[in-house]
Symmetry: C2
Subunit: 355 residues, 2 copies
């Protein structure tokens, strides 16, 4: 695919905060935006030219999105792959559906990673309680049971400590195909946001050290405890993932830093919460970088000019958001969502850390 023309329309499946921030960057580059979201008042609606209000897998709505768009992308990994493949027959879809397929099933994801020599936590696929019992015995230690699909923000997970019984845990996740992962005694969590263009060029942002709370990202610190050597290793791993998936767009790769080196925790085939700080201290944010990549344009510089800390504003934390501006070095981003439900991501703030 050649580069989009000025004024071309970018289709985005999903109109949450990530779709909204993608739309803002697309607008700045002179592209128009069509969003597919069940909610006509979704966060992205304010800054999009068109909202197609329908379920993400509605064939007619996907057809209208294809008609309206010169390229289609998505803001979350739980969109169904099959309709996306059908869409890709009509209009370029980036990141490529095969990358989504890998990322949205934890077993496929880990098998892919291990297959290209990238270490992860030890894991076993478990389809029933017997397999779970057996896997727990094999892995030998505290484990985390996760659904293979549709997990996000810590949902669809249960810790397994005792030898048995495991039926309750398995049923608590809905008795669906799952993965048992050995719990990793990590020193800290980090992530890399990286991009690959249609020309194969890769640009990695510096890694962030991440802190989660109740399964939701709370804080990303750049550089945090990430040494230069660790940053280089994480960037190399991200680049290998991008190349093996023939990827186009931005990816988020989450890692555990252990005394034995880096383990990949998961791949998010989209712009990533732990990269929101890039809008504050990089010339080109992860959102613009993604737009450039899917539009067939050259990637921009991922260099950063300052250390910083990004914090999510979750639920009622948004109420105090404007007061954060008392710090002249705070960059605030509010998503324009209606109700501040508990656990809902409502905005984020990035604070510069002066040397």
């Amino acid at each position: 695919m050649s580069a989009l023309s000025l004024g071309a329309t970018i289709g985005i499946i999903g109109g949450g905060q990530l779709g909204r921030m993608l739309a803002l960057s697309a607008a700045r580059l002179g592209f128009r935006v069509a969003v597919l979201d069940p909610n006509p008042d979704c966060a992205a609606a304010q800054v999009a030219n068109q909202v197609i209000a329908a379920p993400y897998d509605d064939p007619g709505a996907l057809g209208r999105l294809a008609d309206a768009s010169a390229v289609v992308t998505y803001e979350f990994e739980n969109v169904a792959v099959e309709p996306l493949r059908a869409l890709a027959a009509r209009v370029p879809v980036f990141p490529p559906p095969q990358a989504l397929e890998v990322a949205q099933d934890r077993v496929v994801e880990k098998a892919f990673l291990n297959g290209i020599g990238i270490p992860t936590a030890e894991w076993r696929a478990v389809d029933d309680v017997q397999e779970l019992d057996h896997a727990f015995q094999e892995l030998g230690g505290d484990c985390i049971l996760k659904t293979r699909r549709f997990g996000y923000d810590g949902k669809g997970q249960a810790t397994i400590r005792q030898r048995s019984p495991h039926a309750d845990a398995f049923e608590s996740l809905g008795s669906v195909p799952a993965i048992l992962e050995k719990k990793v005694p990590f020193e800290f969590e980090l992530s890399v946001v990286a991009a690959r263009g249609q020309d194969g060029a890769v640009a990695s942002y510096d890694p962030a050290e991440n802190v989660h709370s109740l399964g939701i990202l709370k804080r990303s610190t750049v550089p945090g405890r990430v040494t230069a050597a660790l940053a280089a290793e994480a960037g190399d791993i991200a680049a290998r993932i991008l190349e093996h998936l023939d990827y186009v767009g931005v990816v988020g790769v989450e890692f555990f830093a252990t005394t034995n080196g880096l383990l990949v925790n998961e791949i998010a085939p989209r712009v990533h919460n732990s990269g929101h700080w890039t809008e504050a201290v990089c010339l080109v944010s992860q959102f613009e970088q993604h737009v450039r990549a899917i539009a067939g344009l050259p990637l921009g510089s991922a260099a950063r000019h300052a250390d910083c800390v990004m914090e999510n504003l979750i639920g009622a934390e948004i109420d105090g958001a404007l007061a954060l501006l008392a710090d002249p070095d705070a960059v605030l981003h509010v998503y324009g969502k209606g109700e501040a439900k508990p656990g809902r991501k409502m905005g984020h703030v990035t604070r510069i850390v002066r040397p």
Copy 2:
């Protein structure tokens, strides 16, 4: 006025590129945006919640804008003051209409500046050809005749070199009240973009050296030939202007640098073309700074982290815009306007200048 609440609506009179960039910044802070513009497909429409398509001085439309908005601002100085005063009786309007009144009449503007001790070119108000003849004799040298009102991008101007006759020049500008300014033998042009909050705090961006072509800004270089001493002087003058106008919002102040010091050329009571670079190298752009000021929020840092050059993309120059991204240090902003008419501002690009 106290600070706006999250989700409050900001009304913007004018939906050109400045209104569009204000709307983008407003959205990022979680505000909604209503735009008044005669053209429902104006540049700001893509990123606004609501477009009121009507002439800028339509009383009914202004009433609807007041109903929709918690605060109203404007993107250009040629909006009529009287309807704005009427609007200000219903909803806060920033910058204050009295600042607009000063800025939109070159005679009032220069009288104001000289009155608070700020030097300008020598000037005379001229209402007819006889006054023009007389003023030219008094000023003694090459002069520029300008309409008092409604000039922009070099429109409404004529150079006067010979002693007489001056009837053609006066008629060429429409035989309207005018100002004769003595031509300033300047070394270069510069401008300061500064902001004043509702709390009286002032934040000035570093000045830019500007180059115009055919009356339109072509290039702003930061810092260009502007020394630290000159920058401080220009910032002080901008701060005095803001305080004497009891100003709220962003102002652009254009200067001539002469061997005898700075002369103010004009005041633009709005975000300013020569401040577009701030989005690339400052934590808080002039657009967000303006939104913060009019919303009653604290100003952000105006510090910049790099030297840079901003160039306007005018008319057909926009056709090559996306090719500019081959430079990874280029930040491109395209306004999403339809037809690339000659002289029309279609976008701009800021390039980082590495030391």
